[in-house]
């Protein structure tokens, strides 16, 4: 009996907290009919926001995957002074408010900052421009690949890598053929987490973007602009699209995990 009570409670909570909001978003988006919703995408600013979000996400995922793998590999293979400090630093973006992350970049590259004026004069400003958005997104999503990969590398241990070395594999071959495939579940998981987080990042990006419609507005920022301008249907349509993209990412992750379970157990 208790079992059912707990299950019911959890379903209720989940329904209210997780299922209901996206459904409401979708309902609001379609409140004036599908035509009104689709009209949102006729706005060039909306298309620009979608494009910018996709570009930023792809770049962020690329950068953070490469450096995340490097960091995870280094931290799990070597013991060196300052290693624990490095781990704490990598986790920092998880605990620091994204707004602070954005402000830091503003301090460094803004016009009041160290190099801001010089960059502006040179004609390649970083703040209130896509490079700033990229930096902010990278900062916020940096921990995910490293933190999901490290426990897996620790679990897999070094013997498979050592076996590959005795068979004549180079460092690169070991990484590419043994280490990463052996931890691919965690790697994919980290990449998809990064993707989801990068698409939805608001706080840090809001500080550095400058909210220039059509130029530096990502989807979350554009949604805010639309909503503040009382364009409810458009705002919720964009929001629904963002939710859909996130759901796809989560679905891909679940699907891959399932597939992995079938072909692989620890030997």
């Amino acid at each position: 009996m208790t079992r059912f009570a707990f299950a019911a409670l959890i379903y209720l909570l989940m329904g209210m907290m997780v299922v209901l909001p996206p459904v409401m978003v979708l309902a609001m988006a379609l409140s004036h009919g599908a035509g009104a919703a689709l009209a949102t995408f006729a706005d060039p600013d909306a298309l620009s926001a979608i494009r910018l979000t996709i570009i930023m996400t792809v770049l962020t995922v690329g950068v953070n995957t490469v450096f995340g793998v490097m960091a995870a590999w280094t931290l799990s293979h070597f013991r060196f002074p300052g290693r624990n400090l490095l781990i704490v630093l990598i986790e920092l973006p998880l605990s620091v408010s994204p707004v602070v992350g954005g402000l830091v970049w503003l301090l460094v590259f803004g016009t009041q900052g160290w190099w801001g004026t010089a960059l502006e004069r040179w004609g390649h400003p970083i703040m209130f421009a896509p490079p700033g958005i990229l930096l902010a997104t990278i900062f916020v999503t940096f921990p995910y690949v490293t933190r999901t990969l490290m426990p897996m590398l620790a679990h897999n241990g070094r013997t498979a890598e050592e076996a590959a070395i005795t068979l004549g594999a180079s460092l690169w071959q070991v990484l590419w053929h043994v280490t990463l495939p052996g931890a691919r579940l965690a790697l994919v998981s980290g990449i998809l987490l990064t993707t989801a987080r990068a698409m939805g990042e608001f706080g840090a990006v809001s500080v550095v973007s400058g909210h220039i419609p059509g130029l530096t507005e990502t989807m979350p920022l554009h949604i805010e602009t639309l909503y503040n301008g009382y364009q409810t249907v458009a705002a919720f349509t964009m929001a629904a699209l963002l939710v859909l993209m996130a759901v796809i990412v989560v679905a891909v992750r679940t699907f891959l995990e399932r597939g992995q379970d079938r072909t692989e157990k620890t030997a």
Partner: protein, 351 residues
């Protein structure tokens, strides 16, 4: 290929005691050598140094007379089999075995068909027919270990290092795979070094047994020699069953602390001592004392008598016939065939 170790020392960081302490050893071409010893003796460390997986601070590793100290593990072409197989879980058995060949630089890499043929040959050799398409987790422990061995042999190494390869297998499978490994070693003309903590395994497989303790070699030679002429009490204890009889030496006689054991003459100086003796070397002297020996069980012609002296039970192995008595009354134990020890060293031979 011969493997020669010349004063090898390895000190772990943050540790004062060397894990491998000034070890010199020659493993001749084509020989089968076993490194045995209790855990922590440095056996695995030594093996990893030979393979190039671990660095060493002093001395040289020579393979076929050439120093390989500065060579990476990947360049040494030494086959290494790990205790827990270390198979690549995401690859099929065939991909595992072919790995060493398929990662070679393009110039020296065999064609796909050649690799497949080599893998098929090895699967046959390992008695794993039609297993190429399976994944490691679908195999039994014994099969996985054979895949690991096949993978190590695929690149044609002449030196094979085995790190407790049978440790995780059940006794029956161990027995099978042992005989088969010895056969393989001879057929392929390998130079094999095996790490094990199982003295029987070492005795059965190896021409030379190297007994290690605390990072040093205590004694090396054929298994028989270690059993019959142990260099010190530790070697004797490690290489077979031993009965220890405490006592002391006074006026040229070793006097056992227990009654009904006959004293043994020795020219050693007075002081505490003990006698170490194999159960098969103890003799029963009927009518010589006050203890009774009972025949416990027989294995072929060997019978085991048990006798209890002052709460200590001794098992005595002896040749019996069908009319041997089940109880030998009023006997004493003759331990003249034993070795007299004080602390970690032998004293003058008792007999």
């Amino acid at each position: 290929m011969s493997v020669q170790l010349d004063h090898i020392t390895r000190i772990l960081p943050q540790s004062s005691r060397p894990i491998v302490d000034d070890i010199s050893l020659l493993v001749p071409d084509g020989s089968f050598t076993a490194l045995v010893g209790p855990s922590g003796a440095g056996k695995t460390s030594l093996l990893r140094i030979i393979a190039g997986l671990d660095p060493h601070q002093g001395g040289h590793v020579m393979i076929d007379g050439a120093c390989v100290d500065i060579q990476d593990a990947r360049a040494r072409n030494i086959g290494f089999v790990f205790q827990h197989y270390a198979l690549f879980a995401h690859m099929t058995v065939a991909a595992n075995i072919g790995f060493g060949l398929s990662i070679r630089p393009r110039r020296t890499r065999p064609g796909k068909a050649d690799i497949a043929a080599r893998v098929a040959d090895l699967l046959d050799l390992m008695q794993l027919p039609r297993m190429g398409g399976r994944y490691p987790h679908e195999l039994s422990g014994g099969q996985r270990q054979r895949v690991a061995l096949a993978r190590a042999l695929a690149t044609g190494p002449r030196v094979l290092l085995l790190d407790e390869p049978f440790g995780a297998l059940d006794p029956l499978v161990r027995q099978q795979i042992r005989g088969w490994l010895r056969d393989l070693h001879e057929r392929l003309g390998l130079t094999t070094i095996l790490v094990t903590h199982d003295r029987q395994e070492a005795a059965e497989l190896a021409d030379t047994v190297v007994l290690m303790r605390n990072g040093r070699i205590v004694q090396s030679g054929p298994a028989r020699q270690l059993e019959d002429n142990p260099a010190d009490p530790f070697v004797m204890t490690f290489t077979g069953d031993v009965v220890r009889i405490a006592g002391h030496v006074a006026h040229g006689m070793f006097i056992p602390a227990l009654p009904d054991i006959q004293p043994v003459a020795t020219p050693t100086a007075d002081g505490p001592a003990e006698i170490l003796i194999r159960p098969a070397d103890i003799r029963l002297l009927p009518g010589g004392g006050g203890t009774h020996a009972h025949l416990r069980h027989r294995r072929g012609p060997v019978g085991i008598y048990e006798t209890t002296i002052a709460h200590t039970t001794f098992a005595v192995e002896t040749i019996t016939t069908s009319d041997s008595a089940h109880v030998i009354p009023d006997c004493a134990l003759d331990i003249t065939a034993g070795r007299l020890a004080r602390g970690d060293t032998w004293l003058e031979r008792a007999a």
